[in-house]
Symmetry: C2
């Protein structure tokens, strides 16, 4: 591609679900040799992605933490939320583009898989065409979650639906009822709504909850055994498919 040559590359590198041992060989190599490493984090925190690569970075690494200007202070439905985040993504993209135009490669640390509900895509859409951008896929959090249940998610001709728990309750219930296997993401404060939708769909007894899959503190439980109330952000709910099996 004509952009390559003297320009550096922005690498969106999937770290996988959290256990550093589940990173790909390519990801580990890129991270281990990177001079510039960038990652998103909540202001005042170390950053979850940064935590995964602890001990794996060069001694002389230059770190660029990209701190979200808001997380839950403004509702996502407020137009101000989009405006503030858009300005933030534009600003950090400009910084990364500047590094690449100056000839430096940058590794952007991405939890899970960069193109599957990841924040990196907001940089990718602003950088593509300006500087070389490459993406390294990763093992998703949902793969680690179903592995933690020690049961397959899909058999034979099972249909799998991945649902954000942010959907309205009625739609959640309808989707939960209409799929063989289900993965529910983005649970957190949506847990009471998800419980009601699962009950309405008649699928409560089949549902598993997995918290911090592949990470320290991993928890696997049936929904019927779980406490009521709010769940950690890294909670995934699963319903396993029961399709054809010889």
């Amino acid at each position: 591609m004509s952009l390559a040559g003297k320009h550096g590359t922005i690498w969106g590198v999937g770290l996988g679900p959290g256990d550093p041992d589940l990173m790909s060989l390519r990801a580990a190599r890129l991270i281990g040799k990177a001079r510039h490493v960038a990652y998103f984090r909540k202001a005042g925190r170390k950053g979850h992605a940064r935590g995964i690569v602890e001990g794996l970075l060069r001694a002389d690494v230059l770190e660029f933490p990209m701190e979200y200007p808001v997380t839950t202070e403004i509702p996502v439905t407020d137009p101000a939320y989009n405006a503030v985040l858009s300005a933030f993504y534009a600003q950090v993209s400009d910084h990364l583009a500047g590094l690449a135009l100056g000839g430096d490669d940058v590794v952007v640390l991405c939890e899970g898989d960069p193109f599957f509900y990841g924040s990196f895509m907001h940089l990718h859409s602003r950088l593509a065409g300006r500087v070389p951008v490459q993406v390294v896929p990763g093992i998703t959090g949902m793969s680690a979650a179903w592995t933690a249940t020690d049961l397959p998610i899909t058999w034979g001709d099972d249909l799998l639906t991945v649902l954000p728990a942010t959907l309205p309750e009625a739609e959640l219930a309808q989707r939960l009822a209409g799929s063989d296997a289900v993965v529910v993401m983005k649970i957190g404060t949506n847990m009471p709504k998800l419980r009601r939708a699962l009950a309405q769909a008649g699928r409560t007894d089949e549902t598993w909850l997995i918290q911090y899959a592949s990470q320290p503190g991993e928890q696997v439980m049936r929904l019927t055994e779980a406490d009521e109330g709010r769940m950690p952000y890294f909670t995934i709910a699963l319903i396993h498919g029961q399709g054809r099996r010889p």
Copy 2:
């Protein structure tokens, strides 16, 4: 667990989408030190999973190729298909259990992620409880496919549906119309039916086809640019979500 101790472990190891560099660190380590390696293959072929680990095995490795007794010779709807395959899975599971009971570890090579439409699950269900079984998740073929398109599959609150192209045409069309993002697996000879279902759902123009993602011979094209007719088994169709993005 009480099964461990003097027994060996059967490891279901996800190899990822095909590029050996996209294997996890854990997978690479287990494969590199394995004395026993097992893998499925079509009779008379080398085996796709075996090909991915070429050059990575110990010189003194003992290989156990598990050759499918049928692939397409008997339709999956014929009860004989299930009977023949069930006997085959029981037989190879017994062989693997014998190795583990004798104290040997065995690495079973699994394309993609073992618990996501993988054949390993048919061994897992027959081995669990008899001998120690562990699963290492992998990067799925669909992750490699959307990475190859250089576009994110899901944004914000997008809903993703994973559909086997083996479903009836009317159901395929309804599911294609009713989801933001879509991944279609198991295409092969179902391509003409999938084309009709996409047209019926009004989604032909949004559809991408990816063949051999991350592997030699990778092809990425719009459906509207593709030749008519049969596709390789390793073809995935994608429709990208277009959800909220700041």
